[in-house]
């Protein structure tokens, strides 16, 4: 690395790496230089002129956001000249800005307000008529108020550069310039809301948040989005035990401020009117509400009876429940009920990957690797649609590190637009394209490979062999589909694997085997909906379902237990890259219980509580640390930041069950059962338009 540059800001000698912009050098040293248009990570604009500073020997004020540091440079950021420039730039800005702060959603969080407070003039000399245009609604979630817009172009860059969508543009010229949506009067885009989030003023507002609350009336809970497997941190704004808003403005978590439409808005399923809020027992063929004690007692009695006669249990765990819940569930099933018939809906071949990487270290990619990497190979995945944060990371690496992207998919994907090379191969035969890419990949210094569910079993082994043959550091990520799909595998919600990839000596029935078994005595389903697309062969099976909604599976249940969603409980989840993160309870929904508690109470009713241990998330986590390889990470560390679970380093000697893997191909606007109950996801035009390209066409069970 080149020697740092020594320079002076406000009389303080500071050091900065060559090429650092003055605005950044100052900020890193606790000296704030205001800006609207400058935004870390996006292209430079030098448009707002708020960051003008005085540089000794320069004839006029200089723009700190485009000025690289230089040895001996002497900068003043608070001189009278600078203060005046800020004050009068703000005066200009306010000429056409409506001072409707009392009714503006942004009031209290507005950067313009803050700047005027700090640097602005107390009075305005502007007595002319302001420009006015009508507010527009661009989508169910995006509103644009032109007069409030200060034309900092952050939204345009977030959409173009950050998302690769380019749905926003600037129209007209001069003071009548406005931001405009890509389809005349409306937007057709990812509906991610990043444009709203990044807007420094109240020009872009959220259809769900607007006029709901003043920001200071909310309490904030940082937790993890419960939809896809990327594991974005979302900070939920809660008022009166209601979630009002999701965002991540503090940039904590792996995702910085990134959120997709699901992370930002689709928490809304949680208070859908059809949310189950009372246990139900089937009486005379009809599900009737009953008390929790009665329902739990009923389940315990039936389970005890079936267990006593050595009956056949089938237990289907969830891709959304916490590691603690999953661990506790499999422990209860294996030790309490004495069955190995436990499984979950498998969405990616993590098992073969871990086995194939046996003996290596540092070969599993983190979400940070998807930004730090210089070369990426994407196999069999419509990343932007199915794994939005991973796609965002790679785009950022493209912009900041000139990363090269190679794509092998069955259909066109967004990555094609900036890929060095895109190859079309039918799903399942992606690895046939590897040799074609060998030369190009071999020329690069490193490689991160992400692969979708169509690359499984033997193909994964071939892929790893190919990676090894390149003779350079290669990292892998087996894509999975839901918020804790990876955790479900790690925690042993698998017929053939116990937690930590320990092969079962007596593998149980897999999910399809359970459903197909005509002699099944009990089916216990936790937040999963297997009967949506398949039948249950056993007529006599006693069916217990824990869910948020009366799904197809729940409708077949003998007992329905209303469970709490991810936003209503504590615990940990593990994302697609094996990073463990902490869920924090934001709200309570009356009548529901977290799945961990439900399982614990069933155990208790069966008299198995002492053997199972307390159903307290932190306690169960302690047990996970002790017994699941790779998870020995102290909870306070997890609470601080995502931690990658150290990869299992040894063979996983089990039969290849990769045939069971079926990608869900959820799009930006679907999320299994949860998506059905999200008002926002169902209201956006893109869902109806089936914009999700390849994904929706691929049939899945």
């Amino acid at each position: 690395m080149a020697d740092p540059v020594t320079m002076t800001i406000n009389g303080r000698e500071i050091q900065a790496a060559p090429g650092t912009l003055v605005i950044e050098a100052a900020r890193k040293n606790g000296i704030e230089i205001p800006s609207f248009c400058y935004y870390e990570g996006y292209s430079l604009q030098a448009a707002c002129r708020m960051c003008l500073v005085e540089v000794e020997k320069a004839p006029k004020l200089m723009v700190a956001c485009t000025l690289p540091v230089a040895p001996g440079m002497v900068v003043h950021t608070e001189s009278q000249k600078v203060k005046d420039a800020r004050k009068y730039t703000l005066e200009f800005l306010l000429t056409n800005h409506p001072l409707d702060c009392p009714v503006c959603d942004k009031g209290g969080e507005c950067e313009l307000q803050d700047m005027v407070f700090r640097y602005g003039a107390g009075e305005s000399r502007f007595t002319e008529e302001k420009l006015h245009v009508q507010e527009q609604q661009w989508s169910p979630v995006v509103f644009y108020d032109g007069p409030r817009c200060i034309l900092c172009f952050r939204c345009v860059r977030a959409c173009n550069e950050g998302m690769g969508v380019g749905a926003l543009g600037v129209v007209n010229r001069g003071s009548v310039s406005l931001i405009a949506p890509n389809h005349g009067d409306h937007l057709e885009c990812d509906e991610c809301g990043q444009c709203i989030d990044i807007c420094p003023v109240g020009a872009l507002t959220s259809g769900t948040y607007r006029y709901q609350t003043r920001p200071w009336e909310m309490e904030h809970t940082g937790t993890i989005c419960t939809h896809c497997s990327n594991g974005c941190k979302t900070t939920l704004g809660v008022r009166n035990d209601k979630i009002i808003r999701g965002n991540n403005r503090d940039r904590s978590g792996i995702n910085g401020e990134f959120l997709c439409v699901k992370g930002r808005y689709a928490f809304d399923f949680y208070d859908h009117p059809e949310r189950l809020q009372s246990p139900m027992i089937r009486v005379n063929g009809k599900l009737e509400p009953v008390s929790w004690s009665k329902a739990l007692k009923h389940v315990a009695e039936k389970f005890s009876e079936i267990k006593a006669r050595n009956g056949k249990f089938g237990v289907i765990g969830s891709n959304h429940t916490t590691n603690e819940e999953n661990f506790y569930l499999q422990k209860f099933v294996r030790q309490g009920l004495g069955s190995n018939n436990i499984d979950h809906k498998r969405t990616g071949d993590v098992v073969t990957l871990i086995d194939a990487l046996s003996g290596t270290t540092g070969t599993l990619a983190t979400t940070a690797d998807l930004y730090e990497g210089k070369t990426f190979l994407i196999l069999g995945a419509d990343l932007a649609i199915e794994q939005p944060f991973l796609s965002f990371q790679i785009r950022a690496s493209m912009r900041h590190h000139a990363a090269k992207v190679f794509v092998v998919t069955s259909k066109e994907v967004r990555e094609d637009a900036y890929a060095k090379k895109s190859i079309r191969k039918a799903a399942g035969s992606e690895i046939e394209a590897l040799e074609e890419l060998r030369e190009a990949l071999a020329a690069e210094s490193d490689l991160v490979i992400v692969f979708g569910s169509s690359v499984k079993g033997e193909a994964v082994r071939k892929l790893v062999a190919f990676g090894e043959s390149l003779g350079k550091p290669v990292k892998y990520c087996a894509l999975v589909d839901y918020s804790n799909s990876r955790g479900a595998v790690d925690m042993g919600l698998m017929a053939e694997l116990h937690p930590g990839y320990h092969p079962s000596e007596t593998p149980g029935m897999t999910l399809p085997e359970m459903l197909a078994d005509e002699t099944l005595d009990a089916l216990w389903v936790i937040n999963e909906n297997p009967l949506e697309a398949a039948g249950l062969a056993s007529d006599k099976a006693f069916v217990v379902v824990q869910d948020l909604f009366l799904t197809e599976t729940a409708q077949r249940a003998d007992v329905v237990l209303p469970s709490a969603s991810a936003y209503e409980k504590n615990g940990t989840v593990t994302n697609v890259c094996g990073e463990i993160q902490r869920l924090q309870k934001a709200v309570t929904v009356m009548g529901t219980k977290p799945d961990l508690e439900i399982i614990g109470l069933i155990a208790k009713e069966m008299g198995l509580a002492p053997a199972m241990g307390p159903w307290v998330s932190e306690t169960v986590y302690g047990e996970i640390r002790r017994s699941v390889k790779g998870y020995d990470i102290a909870l306070p560390l997890v609470a601080m930041a995502a931690q990658q679970t150290a990869p299992v380093n040894g063979r996983v000697n089990v039969a290849d069950k990769s045939a069971l893997i079926q990608g869900a191909h959820e799009t930006l606007f679907t999320s299994g059962t949860l998506g059905r109950y999200s008002k926002v996801l169902n209201s956006v035009i893109e869902k109806r338009a089936g914009m999700s390209l390849a994904a929706q066409e691929e049939s899945h069970v």
């Binding site: 430079l44 707002c48 200009f92 001069g174 003071s175």
Partner: protein
């Protein structure tokens, strides 16, 4: 030619104007055309740049940057292709010379561009012509066709084996695109917002490649420099201001027109002798010396040599050579208003001070001119202009601020005459047309 030539003119760039078929390649070649190119073809790039430096030529677009020096900034060894760009987006109010240069002698422009190409090993040039000059685009296309047919342009320039291609490019109505980096954005099919500089076009111009970008008149001067000699050209002007200049005289004179005169010709001489004096024997009030961006000169400041340095010393600019003459009946407030309306209309909207400042000033000046101004408004007009000055992204903000500051400072009495509800003293009705 749309006006009669004047005997005081020194016709270098315009010397073929008025010849029969002056724009044809045959006429051009029969009158020294492409001999400059021939000379340059025998020189090294370094020699060409040095020769341009020797001529004392300074950019005719407005800023007056020494042309040879500008050319020397191009990294000739860059592996990227190099480009020549001709700025024919003439739109500075008061300026109408590039139009004539293309209309009457398009090959002179091509020759200048080709010599520039040789100076940096460029093989491709473009001329960005404002969209309103449609007839000039067609005319230039014809000239280019002729040059290809004669083997001047193409894969084998005049049989030397060198390659140079040249093409027209149409603008679509935006003053801002006359600013070089905005022109480059526009050329690439984008909004004409200026670029962050550095890097300058010499390093990252057309398609982020090294580029020479000059005004039509600058290239037009390059051809005669090589045809007739750099020393000859240099000797025509005043020190450090080589050659002649096309002065566009407009406004209240008897014989408005475009006149080619040596750099440094006295302004009063231009007005009174060349342009026939102030129209109708009226008294001279003020002159904008170099296009609307240049601070106005009061009548008593007009005894000045028209070159870059003399005007800079008088806190104005030679600019694009647009001399706008105003007689005693002119309402300065109205002139200031009209100019501000122009800048507000043409501000690209990229940066806050220019976008909001020009619009505010337009509204304020309109109200003021309509007789609804206050004494504090006079101060405010100057203040707002100063708050734009030096703080905008590109020179357009300065171009709006500088003349306004000068109008207020030099003609405060005229502003005061509009106070107290009095309508414009110079006319009965003032118009209210939105810009």
């Amino acid at each position: 030619m749309y006006n009669q030539p004047h005997p005081l003119e020194v016709k270098v760039l315009t010397r073929r104007f008025g010849l029969p078929n002056s724009r044809s390649i045959d006429t051009y070649m029969a009158n020294d055309g492409y001999t400059g190119l021939k000379k340059a073809l025998e020189m090294t790039p370094e020699q060409i740049v040095d020769y341009v430096k020797l001529s004392g030529l300074r950019g005719r677009g407005g800023a007056g940057f020494p042309t040879g020096l500008k050319w020397s900034f191009v990294p000739r060894t860059s592996p990227k292709p190099k480009y020549i760009m001709v700025n024919a987006d003439e739109s500075e109010p008061g300026t109408c010379k590039d139009r004539l240069l293309i209309e009457n002698d398009p090959h002179q422009v091509i020759e200048g561009a080709m010599i520039a190409g040789l100076a940096i090993n460029a093989e491709q040039g473009y001329i960005y012509i404002r969209g309103e000059y449609r007839y000039l685009i067609e005319l230039m296309d014809k000239a280019i066709e002729e040059a290809y047919a004669k083997g001047v342009l193409g894969e084998n320039v005049m049989g030397t084996g060198k390659r140079f291609h040249f093409a027209t490019h149409s603008g679509a109505g935006a003053y801002e695109c006359g600013e070089e980096s905005a022109l480059l954005e526009s050329f690439e099919g984008k909004r004409g917002n200026p670029r962050i500089r550095p890097p300058f076009p010499a390093v990252a111009g057309v398609y982020q490649s090294p580029t020479i970008l000059n005004n039509v008149e600058t290239y037009s001067a390059v051809a005669p420099i090589f045809q007739q000699g750099a020393e000859y050209f240099c000797g025509l002007g005043s020190p450090k201001n080589g050659g002649t200049r096309l002065f566009c005289v407009s406004g209240h004179v008897e014989r408005p027109g475009v006149y080619e005169l040596p750099m440094g010709t006295n302004l009063l001489k231009i007005i009174h002798e060349v342009a026939g004096g102030v129209r109708g024997g009226k008294k001279l009030k003020a002159v904008i010396p170099g296009g609307s961006s240049c601070p106005v000169l009061k009548a008593d400041e007009c005894d000045i040599n028209m070159d870059f340095d003399s005007l800079a010393a008088a806190k104005s600019m030679l600019g694009s050579g647009g001399i706008v003459v105003m007689d005693e009946d002119t309402c300065i407030v109205k002139a200031a208003l009209r100019i501000m309306r122009f800048y507000a209309h043409e501000s690209c909207g990229w940066c806050i001070p220019c976008r909001e400042g020009t619009t505010w000033l337009r509204k304020l000046l309109q109200r003021f001119h309509d007789g609804m101004g206050t004494r504090s408004d006079i101060v405010l007009i100057g203040d707002l202009s100063k708050n734009m000055l030096g703080r905008t992204f590109c020179p357009l903000g300065d171009a709006a601020a500088m003349p306004t500051i000068a109008f207020v400072e030099k003609f405060r009495d005229e502003f005061e005459a509009h106070l107290d509800g009095k309508p414009c003293p110079k006319e009965n009705i003032s118009r209210l047309v939105a810009a």
